[in-house]
């Protein structure tokens, strides 16, 4: 209900529109308020740093966020707790960015916490009448497949759960947000499905893999890989926050390359291991609690998962600035 009353004011407070000094100081008084969930994750932290100059940022995470910018209002509380919900209802953010499960720690998804958190957030978004919801999903949800050269578009089925069971909840989140998109047309909902995100602040599997001195590869397989640098992904999030943007978008880097050549570019020495041994070894390490990487992840070393990012270019005006070489070496 608040959406209608605040609409006229909003048009003037767009950060991009502020050009002259006076307009900027006027806009500062009524900067759009953005809620970032999962803000203490690698991506969340750089996002808050990018947003805080143009937006009032409220960050929410069960973890601490010690190196946050001074003007970011951080609440160290789980979204499922009543305290967190009270904060959101009181602060009434106009924009919400949900750092989805794939960019955080999938391992923390105990007993469907992921789905519950997202359901809670969607309920809150509906209640406070936020005008924008941006959810970070992932292109891995399409799942690696032998026919990856088709470059999947946004309407391809999400089959990642077939070979990777823990991804099922992440797919559930994506679908839940899709249905929210149709049920609440007043909220501009954007789902971003970036390919593997790399960057110095990322703690995800691909970044950790690329940082390895001797990364294991599957003997005889060399899949094509798409990665996007965190800076480019931040650009895409900012574009998604602009009024009018809505829908599902694949976010890609400028190009794709075979894994072996990406590792060469990094100067890493690949360690080829036959697939069966690699699977057995990883399962052993996991049983001994020496790694948290699931055997299901190995499918990424076998098949490619390539997506088509043309829609983001066409409708959001998103163009990656970092080259692929840049994205794989800056980790």
């Amino acid at each position: 209900m608040t959406t209608t009353s605040t609409k006229p004011a909003r048009a003037k407070t767009q950060p991009a529109a502020a050009s002259s000094g006076e307009r900027r100081s006027a806009a500062r008084l009524a900067r759009p308020r953005v809620l970032v969930t999962g803000a203490a994750s690698g991506l969340g932290r750089v996002l808050c740093r990018r947003l805080h100059r143009d937006y009032d940022v409220i960050s929410l995470d069960a973890r601490a966020f010690p190196d946050r910018p001074k003007d970011v209002e951080h609440h160290e509380v789980d979204l499922r707790r009543k305290a967190a919900q009270t904060i959101v209802k009181k602060r009434r953010p106009e924009l919400v960015v949900h750092i989805g499960p794939m960019h955080d720690d999938l391992v923390r998804n105990v007993g469907g916490a992921l789905l519950e958190t997202t359901a809670t957030l969607l309920r809150l978004v509906e209640e406070v009448g936020a005008r924008k919801l941006v959810v970070l999903s992932s292109a891995s949800l399409y799942g690696p497949s032998p026919t990856s050269a088709a470059f999947l578009s946004e309407d391809a089925p999400l089959l990642g759960g077939q070979r990777h069971r823990r991804m099922a909840d992440a797919i559930g989140v994506d679908m839940m947000v899709q249905s929210f998109f149709w049920r609440h047309p007043d909220t501009e909902t954007v789902i971003l499905r970036p390919v593997h995100v790399t960057g110095p602040h990322q703690q995800n599997l691909v970044s950790q893999y690329l940082r390895m001195e001797r990364p294991p590869v599957m003997l005889g397989f060399d899949p094509m890989l798409q990665v996007v640098h965190e800076d480019d992904l931040l650009d895409a999030i900012i574009l998604a926050l602009q009024p009018g943007a809505r829908g599902v978008f694949n976010i890609t880097g400028p190009t794709q390359a075979p894994l072996s050549r990406i590792l060469d570019a990094r100067g890493a020495h690949a360690l080829p291991i036959p697939g069966i041994l690699l699977g057995a070894g990883l399962a052993r390490l996991r049983a001994l609690r020496l790694t948290r990487t699931s055997v299901d992840e190995l499918v990424h070393l076998k098949y490619a998962c390539l997506v088509d990012g043309a829609r983001a270019d066409r409708e959001l005006g998103y163009v990656p600035r970092r080259s692929l070489k840049d994205a794989v070496t800056d980790v």
Partner: protein, 296 residues
């Protein structure tokens, strides 16, 4: 191997020098004329990592080409007719008969188009889905431009102005028994819909000689099902699916253009498919009549 893109960066300098020497030796076997033709392949779509969007690297073809030209010139002694019918630029579909238990016919068509066409073209063949599970082979296929068959992939390739090879008979064609040699099995409709959608001309071809390279006298279906293979043929006389050195004769027909919509009714498309099938069958019959001997 690093040049091969097989994923193993050499760990020490001596192994690197051995590998680069091996690749040098292989490239040294390459006929200079063929090297020039591989160099003349379009390279405007290669990225900073030396591959095109589909993962193909023309440099890798230089390492496979010596083996392929040995097969073509020495082993199967391919005789080509109508190479002038292969378009010099733009998209097209190569449609023809499939035979011989193992896809040497596809290799030979690819090599022939690369070496004999008025302008060198790289043929992209649609390979079987299960080949993606074979170590090294899957990688070599992708790096040399051979892609797992899927209608969406095919559309994408045609839109990128590539030459795509499709065997409409599929696995049924290649696994024919010797008694059914040179009889085309059913053509699927998929290729015609793709051609109509991409407005791509169809270049029909016929391969004569591949049927006799591995005569199958029986196909053990239960065994094939057990192994998850499309067929388990018993091959006589050599018992292995290694090909006999028959002489290949490849005939290329004039490009055929079709008008219509990709979503036309089945019977409309079926009539057009039949036209292509009849053309291929006619070319096969003509080639058989003109053949003096299977081996020479």
């Amino acid at each position: 191997m690093a040049a091969l893109g097989l994923g193993q960066q050499p760990a020490s300098p001596w192994s690197m020098s051995v590998l680069s020497r091996v690749t040098d030796v292989i490239e040294g076997l390459l006929d200079p004329k063929l090297r020039a033709r591989i160099d003349a392949l379009p390279r405007n779509n290669l990225n900073e990592f030396g591959v095109d969007p589909f993962g193909c690297d023309p440099e890798i073809i230089k390492l496979i080409a010596p083996f392929m030209s040995f097969l073509k010139d020495r082993y199967f002694r391919v005789e080509t007719h109508g190479a002038e019918n292969i378009p010099s630029d733009g998209r097209f579909l190569l449609i023809g008969n499939h035979s011989g238990q193992l896809p040497f016919d596809a290799f030979m068509i690819g090599t022939t188009v690369l070496t004999e066409a008025p302008k060198p073209r790289l043929v992209r063949s649609m390979v079987e889905r299960w080949s993606a599970d074979l170590p090294f082979i899957s990688e070599l296929f992708v790096r040399s431009g051979q892609i797992v068959g899927d209608p969406r992939v095919c559309t994408r390739l045609l839109e990128a102005e590539e030459a795509v090879l499709v065997f409409p008979e599929g696995a049924k064609g290649i696994n024919k028994l010797f008694s059914q040699r040179y009889q085309l099995s059913n053509f699927g409709h998929g290729f015609m819909r793709l051609a109509l959608q991409a407005k791509a001309p169809i270049v029909p071809f016929a391969v004569i000689g591949a049927e006799e390279q591995a005569p199958a006298i029986a196909d053990i279906r239960p065994l094939a099902r057990l192994l998850g293979l499309p067929a388990a043929p018993i091959i006589f006389p050599q018992m292995l699916p290694l090909p006999l050195p028959t002489r290949y004769r490849i005939w290329f027909g004039e490009p055929m253009e079709f008008k219509g919509h990709a979503d036309d009714d089945d019977d409309v498309v079926a009539a057009q498919v039949k036209k292509v099938k009849n053309t291929v069958q006619r070319m096969v019959d003509h080639g058989l009549k003109r053949r003096p001997s299977v081996f020479f």
